[in-house]
Homo-oligomer: 199 residues x 2
């Protein structure tokens, strides 16, 4: 169970045990130092490869990426289906594309929170969140020119428990928000180029 190797209690470890919240803070700080010395190492390219299945059902594979100067692969290739539910004329083989965005936002804020808490010596015991996104489909259906296609508002509600006062836990979350890649993309937008090869 590789996921849990870092949270195993280490009775031999001293008071300055670098493993906290499952985060190897020694490696985290070493990584920061390494990137300070070689900023080019931090240039990454992530990728998803999608194949249409039928109707609104399609499937992405996520495996290869570039980072720290070379082509890399995840330990396994991840596969995800997306679809629309029947009420949106799909077959419900997976979440809708817009639901995956909500997962991405929760995941990014939560990962950042765990890292930042570890770096600041706060032990977390529970982190839960619910992300809601309000959308009026009159936009994508082309029925109302005044309605945008995407979400009108997204709200993230966290419940956080740990060995620090509520105010401190709130500060950790605020720092995670301030350094979140997904939060930045969703709130500020990113240029997207769409190209097509039609042989």
């Amino acid at each position: 169970m590789p996921a849990f190797k870092l949270v195993t209690d280490m009775p031999a470890a001293g008071v300055d045990d670098p493993i906290r919240n499952g985060v190897d803070t020694a490696t985290l700080f070493a990584t920061l130092d390494a990137v300070k010395q070689a900023p080019e190492a931090a240039k990454f390219q992530f990728r998803a490869h999608n194949q249409w299945q039928s109707g609104t059902h399609n499937r992405s594979t996520i495996g290869d990426y570039f980072g720290v100067g070379e082509e890399r692969t995840h330990e396994r290739t991840f596969v995800f289906d997306a679809d629309h539910p029947a009420v949106l004329v799909g077959t419900d083989q997976g979440p809708t594309p817009v639901e995956f965005m909500l997962h991405a936002l929760a995941a990014c804020l939560t990962a950042g929170l765990a890292n930042i808490a570890a770096a600041r010596k706060v032990k977390l015991t529970e982190v839960r969140s619910t992300v809601t996104g309000d959308i009026d489909l009159n936009g994508i259906l082309g029925l109302d020119a005044d309605v945008r296609n995407g979400y009108q508002q997204i709200t993230v509600r966290f419940a956080i428990k740990g060995d620090a006062p509520a105010e401190k836990l709130g500060e950790l979350l605020e720092q995670s928000r301030a350094r979140s890649a997904v939060y930045d993309v969703i709130t500020n937008g990113v240029p997207v180029t769409v190209e097509v090869d039609t042989p």
Copy 2:
């Protein structure tokens, strides 16, 4: 195999067969008409529920949503893990949060393309896409104040085959882009509220 029920050849169907690309165009147009009559039906709220596991590893469940005037659930609850790879001090139990955004974008453009092609009587035979996102992690690492946290540029490359000329296939993709919820969110941004309950 419910996913494929709509693409089964229907020898008894007439020349105006409403099933095309796995899209039930009769239901699609009926849904459009229904929303025209009752615009409130198009107000949806999508949700993801996330629970921290350890370190950068966390897990979302996607099941409940609101739409067409009532609380609804997907046919099953979908579960997704996110994590960082070892090179980013994680345990690679799932894609990174930013990779899920690329999947969402490909999925949204592809689902829209299939619907629009069906509505315009174009039969698609193959749709593949690769989405790439360039990101400089000096931003989220806090090492360079001039570098943003999120992607700097996202590129989507489609390969589309069907029974229409290349120009027409390109027009269908352009219409999908113009009506994509995820494309809108990623290019234009959405307000996000982050709240915390720290008992």
